[in-house]
């Protein structure tokens, strides 16, 4: 791991709803801007590729859902990406072109279900892994599936150990603890929470985990969504649907980049690896300040496929 300070960026802008390809082009532009600020790690918001269907109710109420709701889901599904497809190669190309670790939120589709994921790319363009959101919130539960314990990665990179928790996963103490136990030092928090209470949460996590926290939230207005975007009530074009509020925090909870609301921006901050250790002096949540004699957490990281197929036997049964 490098010991010299380096830059990291979070991106605050809107995805182009239901159009992953245009969104990936936009990602290229913003990544180039971040790279021009010497960023080595670039973090995009939750559901950036595929979009966060802000404000939609998917025609659902307890006991029923409308056919319009189904149509909206179909539209959302069509805008999501297959992780085996071209989208991965394209995003990898952006990481490679700009020589950065790229962390982005996306909507993954697998068979008939969508998952809110974070994708990780290395500067050589390789796709190094993903984290599927474990627990969607509110209406998200209608459109996203639930990840299992098999995608809780923390990647050892020259810039530190990189991992990500999405939006309100950041309020799951046991999930955070498992991230801390993997030595996470660049804690990415792609989110759709633009509330004023988000910054305190990011500061708390930085101080609890003694890690850098990089939180990216979209800033998007009505005009960033298609004309036929099925909001319950139409609003003027410049109405903010996602306010922003991205921030970067140091391992003692100091705010390096404060939230700014209502505009597109790139926050770039200097990350000083030396601070990771000096901050642990008086508190290490999984070491000098833990009580493993009292608390013991088990995390089941096994993949949970629904169907285990037993491969057809190669043994023909005929003795040779």
């Amino acid at each position: 791991m490098i010991q010299e300070p380096y830059n990291a960026s979070v991106i605050q802008t809107a995805s182009i709803a239901f159009d992953p390809w245009k969104t990936i082009d936009k990602m290229g532009d913003f990544t180039a801007l971040a790279a021009s600020q010497d960023a080595k790690v670039v973090v995009f918001p939750e559901a950036f590729v595929g979009g966060h269907a802000k404000g939609l109710g998917f025609g659902s109420y307890l006991g029923s859902c409308s056919s319009e709701g189904r149509e909206t889901f179909k539209m959302y599904y069509d805008g999501a990406i297959d992780l085996s497809g071209d989208a991965i190669a394209k995003i990898g190309g952006i990481a490679q072109e700009n020589g950065v670790y790229l962390v982005t939120g996306a909507i993954e589709r697998e068979l008939g279900t969508l998952y809110c994921v974070v994708l990780f790319f290395a500067p050589d363009g390789s796709f190094i892994g993903k984290h599927r959101k474990l627990m969607p919130t509110g209406t998200e539960r209608l459109i996203w599936g639930y990840g299992d314990g098999s995608t809780l990665p923390v990647f050892d990179t020259p810039f530190g150990r990189v991992g990500a928790l999405i939006c309100w996963e950041n309020y799951m103490p046991m999930l955070r603890l498992s991230m801390y136990s993997k030595g996470i030092s660049l804690y990415c928090a792609p989110t759709a929470d633009h509330r004023e209470s988000w910054l305190p949460t990011m500061r708390h996590i930085a101080r609890e985990g003694r890690c850098y926290v990089l939180s990216a939230c979209q800033h998007g207005r009505r005009a960033d969504f298609p004309k036929d975007y099925p909001l319950d009530q139409e609003v003027p074009d410049d109405t903010m649907l996602a306010n922003g509020g991205s921030c970067i925090i140091d391992p003692l909870g100091n705010v390096l980049c404060s939230p700014v609301y209502g505009e597109d921006l790139i926050h770039t901050a200097e990350i000083n690896p030396a601070l990771l250790i000096s901050a642990k002096f008086d508190f290490d949540v999984v070491g000098n300040s833990a009580r493993p004699d009292i608390f013991s957490l088990s995390v089941d990281e096994r993949p949970r496929p629904l169907v285990h197929s037993i491969p057809e036997s190669r043994d023909s049964g005929i003795e040779s």
Binding site: G149, P173, L199, R203, D282, R291, D293, F295, L297
Partner: protein
């Protein structure tokens, strides 16, 4: 234990004040004075800071360096030791009397002496003047580790009261996720946080804890001025100049993270807020850290709440063993009765 029914809105108070050094009688008088003030505004729950009775010897390094202790440091520790209180004991009785006189739940940080070790503890009293219980801090920060021992898992209490489910997390313990998780799982909705942490980040943490646990958070921080220190008190020359040693920053937050009483710095004060317990259920709608948001299929926290005893008496006197008889061959097992089989099958589907 589930909290049955919700009380009507009531007032809770947090006291931000300085204890009177090692003079416990003076500190107890001060507790009585501030609790009476809280009663005047009809507070039914009053929370005091960490290590209020017995004091927090801020700035003292107890003459300790790696591999080195000094006679002066030992003397300082002995003074601190003498000011610590036993639970139960006369100081606890006096505090119970304060709770009774003011008909309030009283939660207060004390320095507890058990055997010859000191602990940062929080004790709880009912409005009838009963000691509900106490809990010892599990994890101390920095130089606190010179002077305080660590509690075990026996005191992770949450008390069912007429005001809500009452618990306390002491100082830096608020940064221990599994401890918070344990108390959330016991339904705590009145999260008291007696502390001496006066940092800017503290209020951020209290808001986060409130949002995470969907509970009311009542944080009481000491205020400590140089003038509050007893004469002859040792303070490290590394302490920055200035009158305020601990500047306060107590606050009250609701289960949606809304700050009901903002932190106030650099003065003694009583902060209050109206607690409306119906907010708890409204807040749990979209987040319940130990319920619909938990993912217990992935995360499983085991908590050892057993007493940890340094020396335990062996109760069974060992007799020399008789040589074992050779075992008889086992009879073949009877087939299970049909009823029993059914029971087993049922249990499998649970």
């Amino acid at each position: 234990m589930e909290f049955e029914g919700e009380p009507g809105p009531y007032l809770a108070a947090v006291v931000q004040a300085a204890p009177c050094g090692f003079d416990n009688q003076a500190t107890l008088d001060k507790v009585a004075k501030w609790t009476a003030k809280a009663k005047k505004v009809k507070a039914r729950l009053v929370v005091f800071p960490e290590a209020f009775v017995g004091a927090y010897p801020f700035g003292n390094d107890f003459g300790t360096r790696i591999g080195l202790r000094t006679p002066e440091g030992r003397k300082n520790y002995a003074e601190y030791y003498r000011a610590a209180i036993k639970i139960p004991g006369p100081e606890v009785s006096a505090l119970a009397e304060v709770a009774k006189e003011n008909s309030c739940y009283l939660v207060i940080g004390v320095v507890e002496r058990a055997g010859s070790t000191l602990y940062s503890s929080t004790i709880f009293f009912s409005p009838e003047g009963n000691l509900l219980g106490s809990r010892r801090k599990l994890m101390n920060s920095g130089v606190e580790r010179y002077v305080w021992g660590q509690g075990d898992g026996t005191s992770l209490h949450v008390f069912p009261t007429s005001l809500g489910l009452l618990g306390a997390v002491i100082g830096g313990e608020s940064y221990m996720p599994p401890l918070r998780m344990t108390l959330y799982s016991k339904g705590m909705n009145l999260y008291c946080a007696p502390t001496v942490d006066d940092s800017d980040v503290w209020a951020s943490s209290m808001r986060t804890v409130a949002l995470e646990g969907r509970c009311f958070v009542l944080s009481a921080c000491q205020l400590l001025r140089r003038s509050d220190l007893p004469a002859g008190y040792t303070i490290s020359d590394q302490v920055p100049d200035g009158e305020f040693l601990i500047r306060g920053g107590s606050c009250i937050v609701d289960p949606l993270g809304t700050v009901l009483a903002e932190p106030i710095f650099n003065r003694e004060c009583l902060i209050t807020a109206t607690i409306d317990m119906t907010v708890v259920a409204r807040a749990k709608y979209d987040f319940d850290v130990v319920g619909h948001y938990a993912r217990s299929d992935i995360f499983r926290l085991e908590v050892n709440e057993n007493r940890q005893i340094a020396v335990s008496k062996a109760l069974i006197t060992m007799k020399p063993m008789k040589p074992m008889k050779p075992m008889k061959p086992m009879k073949p097992m009877k087939p299970m009765k049909a009823a029993m089989r059914r029971e087993r099958d049922d249990s499998r589907t649970v």
